[in-house]
């Protein structure tokens, strides 16, 4: 075989490529200082100012203004109630969400990969998806009691279907061209799964994880309000019972931070795992 010089054969390189290293400090500065960040901060400021004005008009009892939240959060941290509630909530959230990821991704994959399994399970999944989980709470109390298990099950049921359906859709939508190409080059069934399908469906799986994460946080709070009053949800209820709207808002802000942090974590994982994709939901 004669590899007659590529440069002579292929004509001129179609484009000029330059590579330049960026200093780490510049990378970090770009992450922290950008027009988006600036506008986001401005937007946050507008919300806080509006809230402050409204709060002062209505009174702390009705709507605690942001300026009172520092004191309230200091009080809650000092008493230890915020940290213990946070750990309590996070444990049920993470356990329920993790089980949902394992079950949702596995079952979703099976349904997408084996057409028969997909066809058989499809109506059951649809049924499970439309049944309002909150409506099952009385039965959960009978089955799982009022403790940790009941909360984990609620979180699980709140988010498993998002993850499952998204994975199912992702596997069904794998470009048949990629599968055919792999088959043409001799890939066996296992290689098709491990080298092609599992990668090609990642954008959809991550979309499911993102949707599932916010549902999981909702499930966690609902469980804490409906079963034993505990965790962050319990903290909200207790604070409201004593008309401490400032404490209520502290917890709500903590919840928002959890949601944002979880979303950011998933997004970071997604950008690491699927650098080629902008995701199906964008």
């Amino acid at each position: 075989m004669t590899t007659t010089a590529a440069d002579a054969s292929a004509g001129p390189a179609p484009v000029l490529i330059e590579r330049e290293q960026i200093p780490l400090s510049t990378v970090i500065r770009r992450m922290l200082v950008s027009r988006t960040r600036f506008v986001q901060l401005g937007f946050l400021l507008v919300i806080l100012v509006g809230w402050e004005i409204a709060g002062r008009q209505m009174g702390t009892f009705f709507l605690a203004p942001p300026s009172t939240l520092w004191a309230a959060s200091g009080e809650m941290i000092a008493s230890g109630e915020l940290v213990s509630a946070l750990l309590d909530s996070l444990s049920s959230l993470l356990v329920g969400y993790s089980i949902a990821i394992v079950v949702g991704v596995c079952v979703g994959f099976l349904m997408g990969w084996y057409r028969v399994v997909g066809k058989v399970l499809d109506p059951f999944v649809s049924a499970g998806y439309v049944i309002p989980t909150a409506g099952l709470v009385p039965v959960f109390i009978i089955w799982f009691g009022l403790g940790f298990n009941a909360r984990v099950v609620t979180v699980f049921l709140f988010c498993v279907f998002e993850i499952l359906i998204s994975t199912y859709t992702g596997v069904k939508n794998i470009d048949p061209l990629l599968i055919n190409a792999a088959r043409a080059f001799g890939a066996n069934r296992w290689e098709l799964f491990s080298r092609v399908a599992s990668r090609a469906s990642l954008p959809y799986i991550f979309a499911g994880l993102r949707m599932g994460a916010s549902r999981a946080v909702k499930g966690m709070i609902i469980a804490e309000l409906l079963f034993a009053v505990t965790g962050l949800g319990g903290l909200i209820q207790n604070a409201a019972n004593y008309y401490r709207t400032d404490k209520v808002f502290v917890v709500v802000i903590v919840l928002a931070v959890i949601g944002v942090a979880l979303a950011a974590l998933i997004q970071w994982l997604e950008s690491r795992a699927t650098p080629w994709s902008t995701g199906p939901s964008h």
Partner: protein, 277 residues
Amino acid sequence: MLYTIDHVTSQQLTNPLAAAGPGPSAAGGIRVAGLVKTYERTTGREIVRTHALEQVDLHVAPNEFVSLVGPSGCGKTTVLKVIAGLLDPTSGTVTIDGARVTGPGTDRGVVFQQPALMPWLSVIDNVTLALRFAKVPKRERVPRAERYLALVGLADFHDHFPGELSGGMQQRVGIARALALEPRVLLMDEPFGALDAITRQHMQTELVRIWEDERRSVLFVTHSLDEALLLSDRIVVMERGRVAASVDVPIDRPRTRLGLLEDPAARRLRASLEEML
């Protein structure tokens, strides 16, 4: 010399294999015999049968470059997919150098209409993945991938991702991937169909150069007569799931687009082929 279409057509009808070069005893190359593909679909109380391939006989001799032309929907791609082993025929057989095709195999390198690259893998990883699938020993994969990427002019683009390349460059990766298997035959399904005119011309020239470097049997599906005339030793015309004609292209190589336009024999051949389509 130039066959008239009528002559070839009648020969084709009486004995399809005779027109296709060596007799059945010569088992080399791609041999397709009595290929039938029927799709069945049930709609309500009706069964709809689509006869994609009625009866296809075809032979591509070792190192021969054959183009398969015909209007869209005539079954060209179906023939190619059956030969590639990606589609089971309803009846009929395909053999590659005498070995019966029962599924996909690495004796055939396939280039698809779209580049069909894994978007999550770099250019070189796309090629080495195919070599991995083909059970090429690990040590050989990277050097082989590098060699064939250089052959298609992508030596500087190893660690780029497909999304960062132009359509023409992506298609070249697809060609390098097929060549890297060092297959006995190359199956190409309108590989340049999605490219702009300038890139297509460039790629055609390059394909001929590569083929002349590394001779092997090529079956090239296209709907462009000019492309078929420029590239092939023989043109097989398909129509409604059958082979309508098989025509030699007795034009000296190297061929150029301009040369084909000026050569009266080429013009006559083109005109008579056009009439058939």
